[in-house]
């Protein structure tokens, strides 16, 4: 061990990498621990969606908008090879009812700062020549982008200059007078630091438990289908918005189909399903069928294309579907940066910035109270 770091980041996924990057940029000395390798958890299973299109106005959309800007900056700063593509998203509606709902949704997003461009039915083939005929129309979201998550995490970590220690599982948190964090314990010893950042993703709840606090992070399984390598057949991130009216509750919600997109490496990615089944990787044929049916409904040409791989990942989610970002008021020195559900790749940079500001006592770039890590404590927090 060299000298004591200013901050220990637990988790070498994309969120941990972003926290390390912005903390190091703020002048802090950072050590990153992970029980596995870089991008060994949810990051390594992610598709790399950087989406604003799927978010309703609210705190998560604010995060996404800021993060989209930060990703654009990072793509310029990082060495080549993170496969950043500002390709834009295209959400399509199959009928007039769905289109009406999509328009309403997009109009609200536009008020919140999202760039939206309605695409009439006859213009859809210009954006996506292989789209199924007969769609009612769509909305183009130029701010949606894509990145290769594992490479992005690795390059971001490397660029940060942080010390990386893979294969080191944290087994306990060291605390001092007043319960303040003083470091972590691992199988190979102890590491001291005045701050510990929980960027353990789906396993963030377990780390919180080591600190004696509740953070109910749960896994939500998703399968992704990967096709044979193809030339570019899909230009944008494309998915269908289907209108679902719940008459009983008089509420309306948008239901989306799987995102279909091409990649620079060749395969088309189709993902991802959503199931709450715990940490179970067992193959689910019904989940694969839904993905395949959704993708071929949008792009009939894909029916004859072969899927060569499928894999499962676990999105870390919290009961209100918002992440936990910021200092834990219950444990001085402990900060959380986890529970981003399916948006972790997209929201990583803004999460890293918020954490860095919290560490140096600066002003976070937006109101972070909705992400208060203590909000699930009985009685409404500390």
């Amino acid at each position: 061990m060299t000298s004591t770091p200013d901050v220990i980041v637990v988790g070498a996924g994309i969120v941990g990498a972003a926290c390390a990057h912005y903390a190091a940029r703020a002048g802090l000395k950072v050590t990153v621990l992970d029980r596995g390798p870089v991008a060994g958890g949810t990051t390594g299973s992610g598709e790399g969606n950087l989406l604003v299109s799927d978010k309703a106005p609210g705190p998560e959309l604010e995060l996404a908008l800021q993060s989209a800007e930060l990703w654009r900056e990072l793509a310029e700063q990082l060495p080549r090879g993170v496969e950043y593509e500002p390709k834009g998203g295209l959400v399509v509606a199959s009928d007039e009812a769905a289109l009406t709902a999509l328009r309403t949704f997009a109009a609200a997003q536009e008020k919140a700062g999202v760039t939206v461009r309605e695409v009439p039915a006859d213009r859809l083939p210009h954006l996506e020549p292989h789209l199924a005929p007969g769609l009612a129309g769509g909305v183009h979201y130029p701010q949606d982008a894509q990145v290769m998550p594992a490479l992005a995490a690795a390059r971001l970590l490397r660029a940060s200059g942080a010390e990386l220690r893979p294969g080191q599982e944290v087994t306990g948190l060291l605390t001092g007078p007043g319960g303040a964090v003083r470091g972590v314990r691992t199988a190979s010893g102890v590491l001291h630091a005045p701050y510990v950042v929980n960027a353990a993703g789906t396993w963030g709840g377990e780390l919180a438990r080591l600190a004696g606090v509740l953070l109910p992070v749960l896994p939500r399984r998703g399968f992704v289908l990967v096709t044979e390598p193809l030339p570019r057949v899909v230009r944008h991130k494309v998915y269908a918005a289907d209108y679902v009216a719940d008459v009983a509750s008089d509420s309306a919600a948008l239901q989306t189909s799987p995102v279909v997109e091409g990649t620079p490496a060749g395969p088309v990615l189709i993902g991802a399903s959503r199931e709450r089944v715990g940490f179970d990787r067992t193959l689910s044929v019904p989940a694969l069928r839904r993905l395949a049916a959704g993708a071929t409904a949008l792009f009939p040409v894909l029916a004859g294309v072969r899927v060569i791989r499928t894999y499962a990942g676990f999105r870390p989610y919290l009961p209100d579907h918002l992440p936990a970002i910021g200092a834990d008021p219950r444990v001085p020195g402990l900060l959380h940066a986890c529970g981003h559900e399916g948006a972790g790749i997209g929201l990583a940079p803004v999460t890293g910035r918020i954490i860095a500001e919290c560490l140096v006592g600066g002003q976070p770039p937006l109101d972070i109270s909705p992400f208060d890590p203590a909000r699930f404590e009985a009685g409404g927090g500390a």
Binding site: P37, L164, L283
Partner: protein, 517 residues
Amino acid sequence: MVTESYDLVVVGAGPAGLAGAGAAGQLGLRVALLDMAERIGGQFYRQPAAALGATRPQALHHDWDAFVALRGRLAAGRVEHLGRHHVWAVERDGDGGRGGPGERPGGRRGDGEWVVHAVVGEDGGEGGEGGGEGRRAVRVRARAVLLATGAYERQLPFPGWTLPGVVGAGGAQAMLKGGLVRPGKRVVVAGSGPLLLAVASSLASAGVEVPAVIEASGYLGYARHPRALAANPRKLAEGLTHGAALLRHRIPLRTRSAVTEAYGSERVEAVTVSRLDARWRPVPGSGRRIACDALAVGHGLVPGIELATTLGCATRSTADNTLALRLSSTQETSVRGIWAAGEVGGVAGAQLACAEGELAALAIAARLTKPGPYAGPDPRRPSGLDPGRPARVGQLLSRRARLRAFAEAMAAAHAPGPGWTDWLSDDTEVCRCEEVTAGRIRAAVTDEGARDARTVKLFTRAGMGWCQGRMCGAAVSCLAGDGQPPAQRRPLAVPVTLGALAAEGPGCGQEPSRSQT
């Protein structure tokens, strides 16, 4: 989708599957035997296509009489052979995939049914407008499944191994047995393992000049296991037969050597053979060139266990650093109701595969016909075997023990040495599908912190292509330096068209097709 139901589905129509299906059929079970090929036989008993009219197929094979016997038993029982069925997954029925092994600690969550998913066609379905074949998805239901999916060849890359004319040793053998063709007129046979002798002997008798057989191990390794050798006179005779064939054709066998480079512009024209030290590092200055127009190369076999790993079946590491299924004394995997036989339990050849297939059939028949609590494995007197045939069971058990011991000795003798990666130059392509070089993989390890095969794959795409790491898996694991056998996790065991997957719902799809044996 119309789904046929059987007592037992056997996946794979090689020696293990044929023995299992035949025995189960004779015990009165209703059996479906699925295989990707049109005709039965698997790789070991691969038959020439019927239309080639081979009147002496036995000339290409060792122990053809055994195959004739297996074929006869198959015809006598209630076995339905479903050829051209490419099985892509086996799933517990009715749980939507949520029945992970962890949820059945007692192993008594009912003896439920299994659904075997397959796509039908020569190639498992072609894409494009011309091919409706790929959309032919079928499901076959069964009370028990016997996995007899065999093995494929392990490859260790070297500079020039992607040149046309460099083919797998097993591949050359398969093309010879099935298509009656050869890759060249002067073919070097190289790599490691007993298959090389069989391949050289077949090629030579089919008119090919074989300038040398290059074996990386020393056959002295077998001497460390005298008891396994002495107990297996038939195995030794098999080796002697091939050895005699080499002598007859005047083919030199060079041990402790490897092809460390292949040359050629349009196709292979020559290879360099280098001597190896004990760790398989090429000895500097020992390289000698051999002119040839093809090279047949392979380093033993890798069990094809992806259907089982997707179900959560436990695995074990073998003496030559592959993963095989961990099996009970009655050939059952760690997942109740899924049995396995042959190479999937550790590569050991056709004779053991036949014994294991038959043992599995006896155990399955006992389970399905006499329901009752499973007494648990006992290595000396396994329960769950048909008590009506004690003599046969005893014979099979002792044959299995003897042949397994021989296989372990063989695997240890031919295990790749750690120094082989020294013959990889940085510009050698390791992943043939994604064209990823050894240099790129080494950079991921040294510069980007990848310490295991999965991370190397994420960073470099090695193993992400069409073959899903089957060809480069051993090499990537070695270069990543984690010392682990390559993981065999492929939730889709074969490619499936999106159209076929989308049709996987109730009420769609078509009936399975039957075809000739």
